[in-house]
Every structure is written in structure tokens, then in C-alpha cells.
């Protein structure tokens, strides 16, 4: 279960740093075939916001 999501930029790419409610920190690619990316989309659809510090 997702607690927070931040967009992370690195070497002209980005992915999503996800903190889950159990405290685990993971990196999720911007890839529709990835189930955690799908979870991010659902989390956003539920009214949550991705933190985007900019490139």
C-alpha cells in the first residue's frame, strides 16, 4: 500500500520513488506493464498527488 510517491530525475531520465506503508522505499519505472506503476495510477486517481521537484 502506497504512502507517498516522488518523481526522481537522474541522468535525463525519471522514475518514481515510492514509500510503502511498511516503510520500504522502491523505485518504479514509468512503464504501464509494471504493476506498481499501475498502483501509482490508482493512487493518483484516488486523489493523491505525486511530488515533483522538477528535473
Amino acid at each position: 500500500m502506497i504512502q507517498s510517491v516522488e518523481k526522481i530525475y537522474s541522468d535525463n531520465e525519471f522514475n518514481y520513488q515510492v514509500i510503502f506503508v511498511d516503510g520500504t522505499i522502491s523505485f518504479v519505472p514509468h512503464n504501464e506493464a509494471n504493476r506498481h506503476y499501475q498502483e501509482i495510477l490508482e493512487w493518483v486517481a484516488a486523489g493523491n498527488t505525486i511530488t515533483d521537484p522538477g528535473a
Binding site: M1, D11, S26, P29, N34
Partner: protein, 370 residues
């Protein structure tokens, strides 16, 4: 000839050796590979929880109390060659499941691994699913095959007749002449063993022929495994065969070597740790290295098995076990990790120090489950 391609004894009902000559369609059907660990406690409202490789706890709706502990068990049917099973240990005493909810164990299958079924054509193949199951809770249970590409399901019941006794079940499902499965790496079939289901999923008529997914027809008759905290449910020896079989014609279980089974599981989950070491353990056994180049990542971690898709990566400091951290080998301190160049076969990881030739150490888990 690899072990898992040795033909079965005899011929199938279709007059030629089983399609299992290729590889088992269900992965880790003997529950022997459990890279994540051997127990997961307090399941409730998080779906898609994996413990034994490829097997997920799934649920719908909202439970107000914990439902199950899930574990890898050594309780197995005697004399069948199995050494592990999946155990669901109920935690609650809900006389009826809150509506709308269900709880279940499932394995999802990629569409590109199901094209031989010729689903959606006039030549669509039947399938047969067989498994060993045991529970103190006797009665009717539902096993669903869901075509998630086309929103279609077929649902069959099985009975646990004797309490706390291993029983082998063999259930056939007709071929479906509607709904072609996508030929890709996404889920096409969800094979789901219901454990509980509320009225929202039981109030209709069980859909025993392929048809459009209708929630109230999915789990009609399903017993409520949530009604007594002493309830347990075990499963192992799951196989899915192409064609229609009964208990006398079913091919024997497609046992694989542990190495072969593990390799197929690693398409969906792999880690740098030793097989028996839990992710997040502080250890240098199996550590990876990342090196900072001139203003960019340098040096990639090559994944030993090509994954289903670009994975979710969890990076751990090898020294502290903290997630989201790498260990700067020069300073001997943890730094916030970042990843780059993630593909289905490699990735880069590094910390925050951008000095050229900085060496980072880390462990990883890569997950590309369905």
C-alpha cells in the same frame, strides 16, 4: 533432453502426449520456491501480496479485521512427491464476509504463454486444472478462470469432503470460442481459488460456461473460510493441462528441478541475496557494485534472468539493510539511492556523491509480477 520435457507415461485422451511436453503452464505449482520468505502475517486490505513465488493473496472490497496469515508449509499429501504447500491460516471470526468482499489465492498467466489455447477461435481448447487441497472447513469452494483481456469468466465448484484430509481435485473448463487473448506479457488468465465471498459475488447463478464477467455469478456456493479463527486451507500440486482430463487420464504432475523452477520464477522476482536470505538483511554476501562515471552512471547490474518487464527495484544498503540506500564504499556511509537505465535485463544504481569513480555497494530486489 531437459527433465521437464520428458514425455508422460502413455497418451492423453486426445491420443498424443500431453502439451506439458513444453513446460508447465502453472509456475511453481509445487510451492517449492519462496524467495520472499516463508510467512506473511496479518493480510487484510492489500491485494496482490506475494509470498510463495507466483502465488498471490488477492481480495476485493474492504475488510475491517485481518483475514489471513499466509505461509509456506511442509504439510503435504503423503507419498505424492510434494514437500511444500501454501497455507492460509484464518485470523477472523466473521459469520459472514463484509459486503462487497472476497478473499482468494491466485496465479496470473501471461497472454503469450496461452496462445496454444486458441481462445476466441472455433478451435479453442479445453483446459484442466488439478490440485491437492486440504481444509478443516468442508463444503463447496469455487475455482475461477478469468480472461482479463476480454472480461470473461468461467467458474467451477469443487468440494472438500473430509475435514483436514488431503484431497486431489481435477476440474475441466470448456474452450472459449469468444475473446482472443492478447499475445503479450500482460495478464490474460487469472486463476483464482476463492476462500470467502460476500453476497455481491454469490447472489446469482454460478457461471459454469464462459460468459461476460458478472460479479454475482462468480462464487455462488463458496463457503466462508473467515467464520472461525481455527480455519486453515492448504494447496499444492497445481497443474494446468491443455485438454479435458479426469482423475484417471490426467498426466502426472510436471515436477521440475529446483533450479529450473527458480529460473522461471525469476522472470517475475529476483534478488541479489542468497536464496534463503530475506531482503533487507545486512550482509555483503552477493553484493553488487555501482560506479560513478564522469557526470553520469557507469557500470550496470545485469539481471541473471530476463524479467517480464522493467521491474520495480528496491535497493538496500548491504551494511545497514536500509531500503532506498546504497553504501558509499569510499566514505563507509549510507547514501540515498537512485536508479537509472532500468530495463528487463539490467539497471544502474548509485548514491548522491557525484565524484567520478565513487564506488557504491548495494543489494537489490527486482519485481515484475503480474
Amino acid at each position: 533432453m531437459p527433465l521437464n520435457t520428458i514425455p508422460n507415461k502413455g497418451l492423453t485422451s486426445r491420443g498424443y502426449p500431453s502439451d506439458r511436453l513444453v513446460t508447465p503452464i502453472i509456475i511453481n505449482g509445487d510451492m517449492s520456491v519462496a524467495q520472499r520468505g516463508t510467512s506473511e502475517t496479518g493480510l487484510r486490505n492489500t491485494g496482490g501480496v506475494y509470498l510463495i513465488d507466483r502465488w498471490a493473496y488477492r481480495r476485493s472490497g474492504t475488510f475491517t479485521t485481518d483475514t489471513f496469515d499466509m505461509s509456506q508449509s511442509t504439510d503435504v499429501p503423503s507419498g505424492q512427491g510434494f514437500v511444500k504447500s501454501l497455507k492460509m491460516d484464518n485470523l477472523s471470526t466473521q459469520s459472514s464476509p463484509p459486503n462487497p468482499t472476497y478473499s482468494a489465492i491466485a496465479q496470473n498467466i501471461e497472454g503469450q504463454n496461452l496462445q496454444m489455447l486458441k481462445k476466441g477461435t472455433s478451435n479453442a481448447e479445453s483446459i484442466t486444472i488439478s490440485f491437492w487441497v486440504k481444509s478443516n472447513k468442508t463444503g463447496t469452494y469455487i475455482l475461477e478462470v478469468r480472461d482479463s483481456d476480454n472480461g470473461r469468466t468461467i467458474n467451477k465448484s469443487y468440494s472438500i469432503n473430509s475435514a483436514s484430509t488431503w484431497e486431489k481435485k481435477t476440474i475441466s473448463y470448456d474452450g472459449d470460442t469468444s475473446g482472443v487473448l492478447d499475445n503479450d506479457n500482460a495478464t490474460s488468465f487469472e486463476v483464482t481459488w476463492f476462500l470467502s465471498a460476500s453476497a455481491n459475488f454469490t447472489s446469482g447463478t454460478l457461471q459454469t460456461s464462459w460468459g461476460t464477467l458478472t460479479n454475482e455469478n462468480r462464487a455462488v456456493g463458496q463457503v466462508n473460510l473467515l467464520d472461525d479463527a481455527n480455519n486453515e486451507w492448504y494447496i499444492t500440486g497445481v497443474q494446468l493441462e491443455v485438454g479435458e482430463f479426469d482423475s484417471t487420464t490426467l498426466p502426472s504432475f510436471p515436477f521440475e528441478s529446483f533450479a529450473s523452477n527458480l529460473q522461471r520464477c525469476q522472470r517475475y522476482y529476483q534478488k541479489s541475496y542468497n536464496i534463503g536470505t530475506t531482503a533487507g538483511t545486512a550482509t555483503s554476501d552477493g553484493i553488487m557494485l555501482g560506479i560513478r562515471g564522469n557526470g553520469a552512471f557507469a557500470g550496470a547490474t545485469r539481471l541473471p534472468v530476463v524479467m517480464r518487464t522493467a521491474p520495480t527495484l528496491t535497493i538496500y544498503s548491504n551494511t545497514t539493510g536500509a531500503s532506498g540506500k546504497v553504501r558509499n564504499a569510499d566514505t563507509g556511509s549510507d547514501e540515498t539511492a537512485s536508479t537509472n537505465g532500468v530495463s528487463d535485463n539490467s539497471f544502474n544504481a548509485q548514491g548522491t556523491t557525484s565524484s567520478i569513480s565513487t564506488v557504491y555497494q548495494f543489494q537489490y530486489v527486482a519485481e515484475a509480477e503480474l
